[in-house]
Amino acid sequence: MNIWLVMLLGGLITFGMRFSLIYLFGRFQVPEGMRRALHYVPPAVLSAIIFPELFLRNGEFNVTLDNHRLLAGLVAVLAAWFSRNTLLTIIIGMLALLLLQVLG
């Protein structure tokens, strides 16, 4: 699919979500079950993206020391856990990867 069509439809859907209940005020409420489920969207979607990026190299499962992205990713997890700072996490993770690439 063309990237412009993806962006247009993605944008329309995003706008639709933002507009939905402002438009439907009084006629529809977010069900409690859905409200609860929404809390789990960020960890689920983000982990579903992160895991293959770290654990798979060229489509193969790789948990050896040669997998620099996995090691740098674990460093970033620690950085995120202790700093709770997004920018710092990115910087430390990038430095870890560059260092591993230079050493390896």
């Binding site: 699919m1 990237i3 069509l5 993806v6 962006m7 439809l9 993605g10 944008g11 859907i13 995003t14 706008f15 979500m17 933002r18 507009f19 939905s20 209940l21 402002i22 438009y23 439907l24 005020f25 009084g26 409420q29 977010v30 079950g33 489920a37 929404l38 809390h39 789990y40 969207v41 960020p42 960890p43 689920a44 979607v45 983000l46 982990s47 579903a48 993206i49 992160i50 895991f51 293959p52 990026e53 770290l54 654990f55 798979l56 489509g59 992205r69 740098a72 990713g73 970033a76 997890v77 995120a80 709770r84 997004t86 920018l87 996490t89 990115i90 993770g93 990038m94 990867l97 560059l98």
Partner: protein, 227 residues
């Protein structure tokens, strides 16, 4: 000063601390979007067509991985579902506005515009001109996002490929996900989604991503219920 502009500028002022945090991400997004293969124009236009930080980062990652368009759109939909909550929460305060105002403010309703707006409404209630506050907060954030994206696109060209800039995307997601892992259902949601994403990776059209996200959401919700 009229009541309209007083409210407008109060919204702008309330948004300023958030702008400082958002600006670097606009730049990172701009640079990464180029790195993922989007054209300058497409990278810039996504910031106004979609205008949602995390969805834009995720779209960039998925474009980089050559994910089919339909799966990208589906992912954007899941990621942005939370905006329905913002919509529900502001709806009573915006109920008396014209359709034009409702459309404009809905377009501007990002995480960072929602936060100061709902705080403002909870403090002062629904005043005749308080929607100008939302407009001020939303518009200054929108402008900031467009400028930072453009700057990122401009600077992104200067960054060599050997820096592995594409790795900044998963790192951004790590930085977003780690702080929410505060209890067992959250951790279980993240781990189950991650493992399913690995196991289901060979599925066509990257449907493994959607499947993994759904499994994670269901696991988290069920565990919370059984607590």
């Amino acid at each position: 000063m009229t009541e309209q502009s007083k409210n407008f500028w109060a919204g702008v002022r309330a948004e300023i601390p958030l702008l400082i945090g958002v600006f670097p991400f606009g730049m990172i997004y701009g640079a990464l979007a180029l790195n993922a293969g989007l054209s300058n124009l497409a990278a810039q236009m996504m910031s106004s067509l979609v205008f949602a930080g995390s969805a834009q980062f995720i779209t960039t990652q998925l474009v980089h991985d050559a994910t089919p368009g339909l799966v990208i759109i589906l992912t954007i939909a899941v990621v942005n579902l939370r905006h329905m909550l913002y919509s529900a929460s502001l709806a009573p305060y915006l109920a008396s506005l014209s359709m034009r105002w409702k459309i404009l403010l809905s377009y501007l309703l990002t995480d960072e515009a929602y936060a100061p707006s709902i705080l403002h409404y909870e403090k002062v209630g629904s005043q005749p001109f308080s929607h100008w506050f939302v407009l001020g907060a939303g518009l200054v954030l929108w402008t900031n996002w467009q400028i930072s994206t453009a700057l990122g696109i401009f600077l992104g060209k200067a960054i060599p490929d050997s820096w592995s800039l594409d790795f900044a995307l998963p790192l951004t997601f790590i930085a977003m996900v780690v702080p929410v892992l505060k209890n067992r259902p959250m951790i279980a949601a993240a781990l189950s989604a991650g493992v399913v994403a690995l196991v289901a990776y060979p599925l066509p059209y990257r449907l493994g991503l959607i499947l993994a996200a759904l499994v994670g959401i269901v696991v988290g919700t069920l565990l919370e219920k059984n607590k």
